[in-house]
Symmetry: C2
Subunit: 251 residues, 2 copies
């Protein structure tokens, strides 16, 4: 396993923790002998990287990635003639870099793949993840709903509360509920910026629907029956999803 | 410690787990000899309970509660001449009932009190919580921001995604991020219904501000600089809050 990163500290930590066998000094050297290349950068950085990789890859080398949107990167790979199958492991945290790495991070997690590659599928199964095949377009709509809109919701809630002049009084009182609903707002700004820029079409309508729903709730705050139905329905649906989701996981 | 609950199963479990010394068969018996009475029901149930308690309390007995809004219950206690100091422990989970009880649940947690009572303050310190004195009105605005609006945000996100016709395709992909942002939506519907009904005035403007913010984000999804500033600011403010909040906690 050969690694390359712009930041030499990440490489040093990767070597020390045993994630890498070799740290390369530049991108071309890193991929020279590779059968599989996995890119992990903000999405918009990948266009230049794919252009740089195309002429130096070994013939037949497969390129994949772990970014959160798949349509844009798939079209760039096609543009530069790179043999590409997009990937998206559905695990991780709001932390980034080698310091956030955990050996079993992907164990039991879903790993979306935008194409068929026995080599890549074997790698995914080898780290204990569960491959799932999906088109780049279906992927991007799904993650808009279950990942990008939740991030933007967390972020908007932070903005709406922490910019309030009364925040200084509220801050010591905020507890685990506030912490969890806002957790995603601590995610990497550059990563999410690129996610939004490459997936605005799927995110915008869902975000507008959520804003409209919040407006309806604000209007219904004194309607006992409407509140009860909304809260009961949300709880039932979420608990049902949680239970099914747990049945997908490895023990 | 004497307990009373409408549901005899809760009482049986309370005895079995050692949370209660005695299970009373009705409310009047439960409070007959009590120096301190702690009410834990949805807020709107408390008016009738305070009316029922008023004539049967021991002279000088103190009544407190653990509900999430304080203005309404404080005015009812005044109406019925009950010696009342409101309480609100800032801990817990989306689960309810004796099965969700944990011995150290309140250890290190903030415990808001709406009045001065050495007896109650001693009890709060005795279970390892940190008392904080606040007026019912300031309390209700603060918890609207850091608890009620986050709950409604979680719930609205569940509604906006799980009612979408494509939810069946999205459900298996939703992972820890979605789970955490929607965690509060699994909270007790009756409890939150009463919270909204007794705190609509504080919740509504904050909810409208959040809806407006989401609308602004939807309009800015292709504005690189605006996204970057929003995400960087939210991350910095949240990390700063987390760090300060941790410094409040007991080790």
């Amino acid at each position: 396993v050969t690694g390359y990163d712009r930041n030499p500290l990440e490489l040093a930590l990767g070597l020390e923790r045993g994630a890498l066998d070799v740290a390369a000094s530049d991108l071309a050297t890193a991929v020279a002998d590779a059968d599989v290349v996995i890119l992990a950068t903000p999405v918009l950085a990948m266009r230049d990287i794919l252009a740089e990789l195309a002429p130096v890859l070994k013939p037949g080398a497969l390129v994949s990635d772990v970014a959160s949107t798949k349509s844009a990167v798939t079209s760039w790979a096609r543009e530069f003639g790179v043999n590409f199958v997009g990937g998206h492991p559905m695990a991780g945290s709001e932390r980034s870099g080698m310091v956030a790495a955990r050996l079993n991070l992907l164990r039991g997690a879903l790993y979306m793949l935008t194409g068929d590659s026995p080599l890549l599928e074997g790698l995914v199964r080898g780290i204990g993840a569960r491959p799932m095949f999906i088109s780049p377009e279906a992927h991007d709509t799904a993650v808009a709903a279950i990942s990008h809109v939740p991030f933007l919701t967390s972020t908007a809630l932070v903005k709406a509360t922490m910019h309030d002049p009364r925040w200084a009084e509220w801050a010591p009182i905020a507890a685990t509920g506030y912490r969890d609903v806002t957790r995603l707002a601590s995610g990497d700004p550059a990563m999410y910026r690129d996610i939004c820029l490459t997936n605005a079409g799927a995110i915008a309508p869902l975000l507008r629907e959520l804003a409209a729903e919040l407006g309806r709730v604000a209007a219904d705050l004194e309607d006992r029956a409407a509140l009860e139905e909304l809260f009961q329905d949300a709880r039932t649906r979420r608990e049902d999803w949680l239970q099914r989701q747990e049945s997908f996981r490895l023990p």
